[in-house]
Symmetry: C2
Subunit: 347 residues, 2 copies
């Protein structure tokens, strides 16, 4: 349930949020309504259900000229799986709706489903329903995913406290680098001497990170079941935007140490060849589907030790501060406000 | 979860169903997967959850030239509420995803939400989440609705047996007549002498039945809780198409007595003015959102009596036959196969 503000069609796009806020209300069983990665409902004394939904629009979230239908299906499932991962929940059931234009042919739909189901099988998720329709224009997919947690707990966006450490899983910026590689014409690809630094394996890695990202479901479950995180969100809109969401819901500020942000060698090499800072890719690059979470200093040793044992890459990148601190980034001893830029999807 | 086959973009549209069938599988807690009005999951020893999702595409399911955004929102909610009604469930929670083109302005979105929430409030349904996105082309809405039943029972499409009576609620064909009134130019409206027969109140009634239909939630609950129906489906694709779905899932045939089909006076008057049979509107007209259900002959007296007391209009229109009988319609002593036409949404 990322609040995708890509290419906002209405200047006052915040309107949507205000409308939802206006109409949202308490309801029996509702633990968490609008405003987190998923809605949470208590279905029994022991179980919470987590519901998330994402809509993907051709020309906004994907372009069939640069990605395969298989990747579109795979990524659509993964966007939702990542929301469920960020709740610390186990993904269980999926519904998919498709609006299909005449230009999209049978083999494309076949491939799209193959990608979707590949992602579902990996996480043992069952396809339980959906809807299909014609489309006069582009291809639209809407997915709803249900996950569960037990023991009345979950990872919410609220809960971070001043002094908590800020962690991210994996490496950031890879997906945006992969998207840029897919959408940039070959003539402007790295060449000559630079080609040596930026190898084909780097290229494959980055393209793969964009076309077949991995939702951090096991990591989310671990953090939730061991009560190791005070708050969490998935990185779908980019570190800058998603950290802001977490801080807003927790009513805190944050200080990010830019030099600590984990960047893959491939992303670093790619950034060098196109002459931008890899940090910029990491801050604004969306769809990495890594976890951003906070933890009390008391739990950091446990996190670091258990993550090591389990083979999870978890990196401390900063500290939660009081709300009045705002959201700042530090590098080489200098501190400045983090720009409020969110990832802009393909357009 | 109507399988909208409007304006099929792929000749082999049945492909979608075959793909879903291929990938559908048994999963823990799953009572009913693909193939009914909603998916059903056992969430506790006493409770079943019903999940349904519907995608509405501009130019296919609605045209903002002929209907208001308020009606689009209202009908989108109602399409899902009707699926939940057809399961005999109580609607509880709603998620909405919107893809919004630049042409759709703030007041339109405001109105769309107002219509959606009007329908929700009427059934005490809470908006718990969603997603918003830009759209390069048309307006797309996807709604997911959650309903619940207790006592491990629900109204499924399967369960009808030869000898059962076939019932429908309300009157059929009104929504299609209303749509035709909205989309036909005024010059071809009934005029002169015909105008007298087809009054303005008829017109208002039919337009209202299209723009603000009513999901039969109370009726569905009653049928389920009293165990009065052997199978049920909602009329979203038209009687001809939806009866076929019910018969396929129940592996039975059906005989419909055309003269028994309940038609409103307004629809009858409208059909006369445009020179078509009102039965044709009833058979092929979709989005009436009435219930089609079957009941054992033993229960028919109870149904007729209780429906009368409760003010529900329930009409027996035929009888379930063995599968080899096929789906036939009788009128004036003549029997012929019911044409396999489904409602085609606006285009």
């Amino acid at each position: 349930m990322a609040r995708r503000q890509a290419n906002p069609p209405i200047q006052e796009f915040a309107l949507i949020r205000s409308l939802e806020d206006r109409y949202a209300r308490h309801a029996p069983g509702l633990v968490q309504g609008i405003g987190d990665d998923a809605a949470v409902i208590e279905t029994s004394a022991k179980t919470w259900w987590h519901l998330t939904t994402d809509l993907l629009a051709e020309g906004i979230h994907f372009d069939l000229k640069s990605v395969t239908p298989e990747s579109v299906g795979y990524r659509a499932a993964m966007a939702n799986l990542s929301d469920i991962a960020a709740m610390g929940a186990v993904p269980r059931y999926l519904l998919i709706s498709l609006a299909i234009p005449r230009t999209v042919k049978r083999p494309h739909i076949d491939e799209l489903y193959a990608g979707l189901m590949k992602a579902c099988r990996f996480y043992d998720v069952a396809l339980i329903g959906g809807d299909t329709s014609a489309s006069k224009t582009g291809l639209f997919l809407s997915i709803t995913l249900v996950g569960t947690t037990s023991g009345r707990r979950a990872l919410f966006r609220h809960g971070a406290k001043a002094g908590d450490h800020i962690y991210v899983s994996g490496t950031l910026g890879d997906s945006l680098a992969g998207l840029k590689l897919l959408t940039t014409s070959t003539t402007s690809q790295p060449s000559g001497k630079r080609k040596i630094e930026f190898s084909r394996s780097h290229q494959r890695f980055l393209v793969r990170r964009h076309s077949h990202p991995t939702a951090r479901v096991a990591e989310g479950r671990w953090l939730n079941e061991r009560r190791l995180a005070s708050a969490a969100i998935d990185l779908s809109d980019g570190l800058s935007g998603d950290l802001r969401h977490l801080c807003e819901e927790s009513r805190v500020g944050a200080e990010v140490e830019l030099d600590r942000i984990p960047i893959s060698r491939a992303c670093r090499a790619y950034a060098r060849t196109i002459g931008v800072s890899p940090i910029r890719l990491a801050l604004t690059g969306g769809e990495d589907y890594e976890l951003l979470f906070t933890a009390s200093p008391h739990d950091c040793d446990t996190i670091d030790r258990q993550a090591g044992t389990r083979g999870y890459r978890m990196t401390r990148i900063g500290t939660i501060r009081p709300q009045r601190f705002g959201i700042q980034m530090t590098s080489d001893g200098r501190t400045q406000p983090m720009p409020a830029t969110s990832y802009e999807h393909f357009r």
